[in-house]
Symmetry: C2
Subunit: 136 residues, 2 copies
């Protein structure tokens, strides 16, 4: 597992405390909204500005360090980009869990896209329902 400073520098970005904090938080939670991140970073670095969080998320998305997870009926969450996977999204609490794509091979998706002459670059599979905790 690559450390965050390296990851940032490889992407042509300075390894600031703010950016490292954002990555640590995302590493910890897996998926967070902008506000989640802002509130949490604040606990350590009280002076961080919300504008800085916005600017950094945007920059990290552009550089491909993060991926956006857009959610129906909620604000988007963000995650550190990794190989394709499936999201299990709880409609009650909004939690997001990951599952492997093992059961759904990439070629299968590529083939579907080809039917429409569509060049596939990225897949998002989101399964909405109720998580273990919320069904009590």
């Amino acid at each position: 597992m690559k450390n965050h400073s390296e990851l940032l520098r490889e992407s042509g970005l300075k390894a600031t405390i703010q950016r490292l904090s954002i990555l640590e938080i995302l590493q910890g939670t897996g998926h967070s909204t902008i506000d989640d991140i802002y509130v949490t970073v604040r606990e350590k670095h009280a002076s961080i500005s919300l504008a800085t969080v916005y600017k950094n998320i945007e920059m990290l998305l552009e550089k491909g360090v993060l991926a956006e997870v857009p959610l129906a009926g909620r604000k988007s969450k963000y995650e550190i980009k990794k190989h394709d996977h499936i999201h299990l999204i709880c409609q009650v609490c909004g939690s997001v869990e990951d599952e492997t794509m093992d059961a759904i091979p990439q070629e299968q998706l590529t083939r579907i896209a080809q039917k429409d002459d569509f060049i596939l670059s990225q897949s998002q599979i989101n399964l909405y329902g109720i998580c273990r905790n919320c069904r009590q």
Copy 2:
């Protein structure tokens, strides 16, 4: 194909001109953002308010008449709810096309969700890439 007035009444909603227009537009385009809808309804019913579009989209989502299609890096689009299908999302122009889920059986997704004790209620498969038109 059920007509829109019926559809609305069955959902316990009055069939207003505004709502019928919204449904017609979505029927025509397949997928539209709030602003797309607002601008287009306006051409016929110049007096419609943006607030009315917001309120109606929310109401129609609640009643299950519409579904939200949340998109990475863009505003959500909305569609008339139909059986599960795959979205091909163009990263250049933002267009959304539908494809059938034939190749990916429901049970397969249900099984993936079960691994996490997750009760599946709805699936969204979004394939991002470049559409036929945009790769010219």
